[in-house]
């Protein structure tokens, strides 16, 4: 009998089912890989085959307030050598050394020795920052083993002017200090990217896929700094430090009406023309005008007086009796000249810079109002100028632990309070500009192809009333022009100001033989166009602010005022000094 081939077999069905499942699984897997996960695998393959090279964008320039460049960028080449190119042909290395040395201005023999010395590895940077045309010349020679990489270099047309303020960039062209670092995001822009197909050795495939994503060039930054005033100030500061054998100093010139910083110089510092980061003393890189604090000394009597007048407690003709010393909190405080001056007006208090008078005022004001006023003038907090590394200063009030009653006395004449030079000049500017604390600023404008951003002055808060400001300005005018032979006087202009002489604070108290001599002055009194702080650190020949710092104002102010075309105060024709 013939077998019946149509009978249903479970075993065969089971096997068929298994096969169908397996096939379905394979098909699904293929579908998943090629359709569902297509993008992921495509990107992985792209990553394998494509390489990315960042293309640095042009760095923005830093300009002074008139638009003259203080820091700009030029194109250069870095020269690398691949020693493998002449491993079998040393004569080629000699030819390379000869050709390169002639064009970069170096002797050929040491260069050849370096080319043949492979302890640094097969590939080495031989010469950096070669001028662009020279690089193209070398490139055109087609020398074996020579690779030129395009780059850029910072160029400073004004030389070392504003070195500390500008700062510098590193080999990766990122800002490392100063405004170059503070404004890195603005100046650096955004790098572009070049994607290209590479072979197994990492080399670009000539006809392979390439894609370029353009970056964004850095924006140009225009500062409030005036290059001429900055140069004048730095030159004078260097001269004064040498003349008085001082350890350093700071000068800040500011527009008291707006807070715009016209010049800012501090020493010790560094020079951009001789900058070397190998073993460099990093202390030289900081901008001491905003990072270093000091006790303002008698300059702070301006604030104490303004506070008392603003509270209606005194006027310029109010008197007190100066006995030469005062007891406070178990301590005895004396005037700087160890003298007693008897009946003294408030104006005379400032003219003679009497500590006893300042203490008398602080007693009248009281700790609540005194510290509230000091804080209103910005002490104890950063000015938010935008300059990196700015310190907030130190202020211990009666609300803080460790405060003593004697602190109110010392604080009234500027000891026991630590502030940066920028804080001090900003506070006095608030007294002379009508009573408004302005935020100091150094960036005027940021401009890029995308547009321009102008920065407006910012009024932080009212420190004292306009009437108080007018009164104190008159008193400070009397301090300078009312004192015969005051060294801050400027022929043709009415000048106001206050000197300060502070002992240098040390961990155990004060160094009795070291002072910080300072002066804050402004002119013209009728409508102050500039305010200037001069601080000379530890002058060796004379400790006093009136002798060391005030004359610096007297020397710089005429040049700055005439440069700024500020109308003289005097109405009669006078000859300058």
């Amino acid at each position: 009998m013939a077998r019946d081939g149509n009978r249903f077999s479970w075993r065969i069905a089971f096997l068929a089912g298994l096969l169908i499942l397996a096939t379905a699984g394979i098909v699904y897997r293929l579908f998943a890989i090629q359709v569902l996960d297509h993008e992921r695998y495509r990107l992985e393959a792209q990553e394998e085959h494509l390489d990315k090279r960042l293309v640095r964008s042009a760095r923005g320039a830093i300009l002074d307030r008139s638009g003259f460049p203080l820091a700009t960028t030029i194109d250069v080449f870095d020269l690398y050598v691949d020693r493998r190119a002449w491993r079998d042909d040393p004569a080629a290395a000699a030819a390379v050394a000869e050709a390169v040395a002639a064009r970069v201005g170096r002797p050929a023999a040491p260069l050849l020795a370096r080319l043949l010395d492979d302890t640094a590895g097969p590939v080495e940077l031989i010469e950096d920052a070669i001028p662009f045309e020279v690089g193209r010349e070398i490139e055109a020679l087609g020398l074996p083993g020579v690779v030129l990489a395009g780059g850029s270099q910072r160029y400073y047309p004004e030389g070392d002017v504003a070195s500390g303020l500008l700062g510098f960039i590193g080999r990766d062209h990122s800002g490392l200090s100063g405004l170059e670092a503070d404004l890195e995001e603005t100046l650096g822009g955004r790098p572009g990217a070049l994607y290209f197909e590479r072979d197994g050795g990492g080399r670009p495939i000539v006809l392979g896929e390439t894609r370029f994503e353009p970056g964004t060039a850095g924006a140009d930054v225009r500062l409030t700094i005036d290059r001429h005033i900055q140069r004048l100030v730095e030159s004078e500061l260097d001269f004064q430090i040498e003349a008085h054998d001082a350890s350093g100093g700071t000068i800040i010139v500011m527009d008291p009406q707006t807070g715009a910083i016209l010049a800012m110089a501090s020493r010790p510092g560094f020079r951009l023309s001789s900058l070397s980061l190998d073993g460099a003393d990093e202390d030289l890189f900081r901008n001491r005008a905003v990072t270093d604090v000091y006790e303002p000394g008698s300059v702070l009597k301006t604030i104490t007086m303004a506070t008392a007048i603003d509270r209606g407690l005194v006027n310029p003709n109010t008197t007190y009796y100066d006995s030469g010393s005062v007891e406070k909190g178990g301590y005895t405080f004396k005037n700087w000249d160890f003298s007693a001056h008897g009946v003294t007006t408030m104006t005379e208090l400032l003219q003679k810079s009497l500590n006893t008078g300042a203490i008398w005022l602080s007693d009248l004001i009281g700790p609540d109002d005194m510290y509230a006023s000091i804080e209103r003038f910005g002490f104890g907090e950063s000015t938010h100028s935008g300059i990196g590394g700015e310190a907030a200063g130190l202020l211990r009030t009666h609300r803080d632990a460790g405060w003593y009653a004697a602190d109110l006395a010392t604080n009234s004449y500027g000891q026991g309070i630590a502030a940066t030079p920028l804080q001090v000049v900003t506070a006095v500017a608030a007294v002379v500009n009508g009573g408004t604390l302005m935020r100091p600023y150094i960036v005027e404008e940021v401009s890029s192809p995308a547009g321009r951003r102008l920065f407006e002055p910012v009024a932080v808060r009212r420190a004292v009333s306009e009437a108080t400001s007018r009164t104190v300005v008159q008193m400070l005018w009397d301090v300078v022009d009312g004192v015969p032979f005051h060294r801050a006087q400027v022929s043709g202009y009415h000048v106001g100001g206050k000197t300060g002489t502070t002992l240098v604070s040390i961990p155990t108290g004060y160094a009795l033989d070291s002072t910080l001599a300072s002066f804050v002055g402004f002119a013209p009194v009728e409508d102050p166009a500039i305010i200037m702080l001069v601080k000379i650190d530890t002058p060796q020949d004379d400790p006093l602010g009136g002798v060391v710092a005030a004359p610096v104002f007297g020397k710089l102010a005429p040049a700055i005022l005439s440069y700024l075309d500020v109308r003289p105060s005097a109405t009669a024709a006078r000859a300058g000094r």
Binding site: A58, F68, Y155, P157, V206, L207, T571, A575
Partner: protein, 144 residues
């Protein structure tokens, strides 16, 4: 022979032209050669374009570098040090020792500052006055 005759086409029916293999092969070869040549031309054109692009990019880099260099040159020429050096060495300038301020109480004159005109222009009043006939005639000539 009769069998063979039966197999042969009838002499009365016309013969259809045969597609010969040789012709097909020739056409295929020509097509292949054309495609290959086209590819060669395309590759060559692509390489040319790539080289042109490289050349233009290089030109752009050179021009950009020139612009930066010129900007730096302008900055250097207008630098304070250079200006002061030129003022001192080439022009013989020295820093001012004193600054003299003069206040002038008289108001500055209006209009152009300069020497008075040689001939006073005719005023409106004089325009209305009677002018001699010979004066009129003279005005019409280039000699007036």
């Amino acid at each position: 022979m009769a069998t063979l005759d039966r197999l042969a086409p009838s002499p009365s029916a016309p013969l259809a032209p045969a597609w010969k293999p040789r012709r097909a092969i020739a056409v295929a070869l020509i097509a292949a050669a054309a495609i290959a040549l086209l590819q060669v031309f395309q590759s060559g054109s692509s390489v040319d374009t790539g080289l042109s692009l490289q050349r233009l990019e290089r030109q752009q880099a050179d021009l950009t570098a020139s612009v930066h260099a010129l900007e730096a040159q302008v900055a250097a020429l207008s630098s304070l040090d250079r200006v002061e050096r030129a003022a001192r060495e080439r022009l013989g300038f020295v820093p001012a020792e004193s600054i003299l301020y003069l206040e002038v109480a008289t108001q500055a004159p209006g209009g152009l500052l300069g020497p008075p005109p040689i001939a006073t222009p005719a005023t409106a009043a004089s325009e209305g006055e009677a002018v001699p006939w010979w004066r009129d005639l003279l005005r019409a000539t280039p000699f007036d």
